[in-house]
């Protein structure tokens, strides 16, 4: 039996139930231990890569500049990329949403009568739920990144964009393999567990008709797709099967090949604290006459899926600078405590909080931008300097009011609007802008404090109720002055 036949049906977790899931997640001791340990490890490893803060600032400045420049010329660069890829023999497809992207890939697979697609790590294919679309037409879609393979085997989704199975302990993985992988016996040795995965997946690389990958950087001037990885499964998926399909968001583009080294250097150092990954794979053509391996066909699917909404606003456009290193989640105090699954989105953590509303609409995601203490750690470590806290505040606002004049409404604009909240804030504003009213309120609040309700909505879910003091600070100070 294949791994796929053995895997669980996927557990769906809607983003709209974020609050309920976070409270479950924070009480899961094992989960918290897994994340705390892994995030501490990743933070320490990243720090060793950037010993000189001045040099780091120069590198981040350049990387931000490259990304901003690329975005400023995005439509032209997409057309240039398409021209050069086509000239190189790579077929380019465009998709406005997940359904279109999946339909394109299903079409390619069916044209080749494919039964098995091996997948290198691709968060964009997670975003489109490609595996379901493939399974619906009877094509097995097998994840081959070790972490992705593990979560797929257990019917889960990745909990971290770089380390998909970080929420699992090796004991849990040992048990999973023993149960689900035919012929595997229980072992807690990480080397042996990886050996089991290697053996299973090598057979699959050999027989798969199609290989799928993501893209880390697409270079417009040369028509080159760049892939970053350590395991070699990405190279397998893009070299062994007859057909290679790459899928990427429209923003992952740079103009020149020379723009790649500064971004690549920051990507791996920020993500896992590695100066470089084992492989950096640059693909510019399908197999040429005389060449003995490599796919005969290469396709690129360019996906929008809400990215043009972010692009349409000059502040929110900076969301698209992201190179998906995951440093923001590694350093986020909220992510570390609730873990990646609680978010219920493809991209968890701070970057997920600012990109998911564009992909899924604010109606389903308005709680996500509130999952932050605005401590700013995310933007401090972001290699391309995305002002994440500013964008979180902006999205909280967009969720709670109608579109401002001159701004196009976002999908789900005003989804968290509440009449009660509006009244409370209007009252608060009135109190704090009218001195007489403020003094009267202070006088009443200190005397009628016994009337404070014991249940105070969200505040008392996990805290003792608020009660005004018997005497206000203003009174106490006045009394002190008199003495």
């Amino acid at each position: 039996m294949s791994a796929h036949e053995n895997s669980q049906p996927l557990k769906f977790i809607p983003a709209s139930e974020f609050k309920q899931r976070t409270s479950e997640a924070v009480s899961d001791e094992l989960l918290r231990k897994s994340f705390r340990g892994a995030m501490d490890f990743l933070m320490a490893k990243r720090a060793t890569q950037f010993p000189d803060p001045v040099a780091l600032e120069a590198q981040r400045g350049l990387a931000e500049h490259i990304r901003k420049y690329s975005l400023a010329h995005l439509p032209d660069l997409l057309e240039q990329l398409e021209r050069n890829l086509t000239a190189n023999g790579i077929q380019v497809h465009w998709a406005e949403n997940a359904e279109q992207a999946n339909a394109i890939i299903v079409g390619i697979a069916q044209k080749h009568s494919a039964k098995l697609m091996v997948k290198g790590k691709s968060m964009v294919s997670e975003e489109t739920e490609l595996n379901h679309a493939m399974e619906a037409v009877g094509i097995e879609a097998l994840e081959s990144d070790m972490g992705e393979y593990i979560v797929q085997l257990d019917g889960e989704k990745p909990s971290h964009i770089i380390m998909p199975a970080i929420h699992k302990t090796k004991q849990q993985i040992a048990k999973l393999f023993a149960e689900k992988v035919p012929g595997a016996s229980y072992t807690e040795s990480v080397d042996e567990l990886i050996g089991i995965g290697r053996a299973v997946l090598r057979e699959k690389f050999m027989t798969a008709e199609i290989g799928l990958s993501g893209v880390n950087f697409a270079v417009a001037e040369t028509g080159t797709l760049c892939l970053v990885e350590n395991e070699g499964n990405g190279r397998m998926c893009t070299t062994v099967p007859k057909v290679h399909v790459a899928i990427t968001g429209i923003e992952k583009i740079v103009e020149k090949l020379e723009h790649v080294p500064p971004l690549f250097g920051l990507l791996t150092r920020s993500a896992t604290g590695q100066a470089v990954t084992t492989y950096f794979n640059m693909i510019s053509r399908p197999r040429q006459p005389g060449e003995k391996d490599g796919p005969q066909e290469v396709h690129l699917v360019l996906l929008d899926n809400g990215r043009t909404q972010a692009y349409n606003d000059e502040q929110m456009r900076s969301t698209l600078q992201c190179i998906r290193c995951g440093a923001c989640m590694n350093h986020c105090p909220v992510y570390t405590r609730v873990g990646g699954h609680a978010y219920g989105t493809t991209y968890p953590g701070p970057i997920g909080e600012i990109i998911s509303p564009h992909m899924m609409g604010l109606a389903a995601t308005h709680a996500l931008p509130t999952a932050s203490s605005l401590c700013g750690a995310c933007s401090e470590v972001c290699p391309v300097k995305i002002p994440i806290p500013d964008l979180l505040i902006r999205l909280r606002g967009e969720a709670s009011h109608d579109a401002r004049p001159g701004h196009a409404p976002l999908v789900g604009q005003g989804a968290a609007k509440s009449a009660l909240m509006d009244i409370v804030w209007a009252g608060w504003a009135a109190l704090y802008t009218r001195p007489a009213l403020y003094r009267a309120f202070g006088w009443l609040a200190t005397r009628f404090r016994f009337l404070t309700p014991p249940m105070q909505s969200g505040w008392t879910y996990s805290r003792t109720p608020l009660k005004p003091a018997a005497r206000s600070l203003r009174d106490l100070l006045a009394e002190r002055k008199r003495k």
């Binding site: 990743l42 997409l78 380390m163 350590n230 395991e231 080294p261 084992t278 492989y279």
Partner: protein, 234 residues
């Protein structure tokens, strides 16, 4: 469908408000500043640095010379119990390899589609040349081609790579500009990028299980670099 999608996406991007576009980033200037800030390394220091960084990725560096590398490779194959070594029969290194008397020398002379199971299951090691190395990160540069196909450096459990120490670059940027990857004036700006270009830093690895590092994830379990140096640098 895809052409409508294309037009819609491009139209949305083009109609978005555009402030003043930033100037083109000065990547050359950035690396020139970095180069001027640090004293230039001599050849010996470069070789040292490359070996140190490659060792960090668990790449095994063996110093050889132009005249003895094939013999060193033969000895390594014996020591590592290699019974089949994949090589390119049309390469500049082929004659030396064939003359060295290496056990189980196997040319990659057919399309992979004709012999996948043998490649995956019965090939112990692969030998390739390289286009150079990067000292900053301990990295090999490979441009596979019809003579040295892509899977030679990926599928066999051991990868032997021949690297000339005079081909060491300080960093990735210097390597791609030094070798004119994106085309230069002589090539009328036409890209020289091959079907596939690779940077390789060590054997395949993963830390996906509880951030514990394990080697030989999907690709080679061992990477051995035959670093060609001068007699006195051995």
């Amino acid at each position: 469908m895809t052409s409508t999608a294309r037009n819609n996406i491009l139209q949305r991007l083009r109609s978005a408000p555009q402030g003043k576009p930033p100037l083109a980033p000065d990547v050359h200037g950035f690396y020139a500043t970095a180069r001027n800030a640090a004293p230039a390394e001599d050849r010996a220091a470069r070789i040292e640095r490359f070996c140190e960084k490659m060792a960090f990725w668990r790449g095994e560096v063996v110093r050889v010379t132009h005249s003895n590398w094939a013999e060193s490779l033969r000895a390594l194959c014996v020591a590592k119990n290699v019974n089949s070594l994949l090589y390119g029969a049309q390469t500049a290194q082929a004659a030396a390899l064939e003359a060295a008397g290496i056990n189980g020398l196997k040319p990659y002379d057919r399309p992979v589609d004709d012999w996948k199971p043998e490649l995956f299951r019965d090939t112990d090691a692969g030998f390739t040349s390289t286009r150079g190395g990067i000292t900053e990160t301990g990295t090999l540069i490979l441009w596979p081609d019809e003579k040295e196909p892509r899977l030679m450096s990926l599928v066999p459990p051991i990868h032997f790579a021949l690297l000339d120490a005079s081909q060491l670059y300080d960093n990735f940027f210097d390597a791609m500009t030094g070798q004119g990857w994106s085309g230069d004036e002589a090539s009328a700006g036409i890209s020289k990028m091959p079907t596939n270009a690779l940077l390789i830093s060590g054997p395949s690895k993963t830390a996906d299980i509880q951030v514990t590092l394990a080697y030989g994830a999907h690709g080679p379990k061992e990477l051995v670099i035959l670093l060609v140096v001068n007699e006195e640098e051995l």
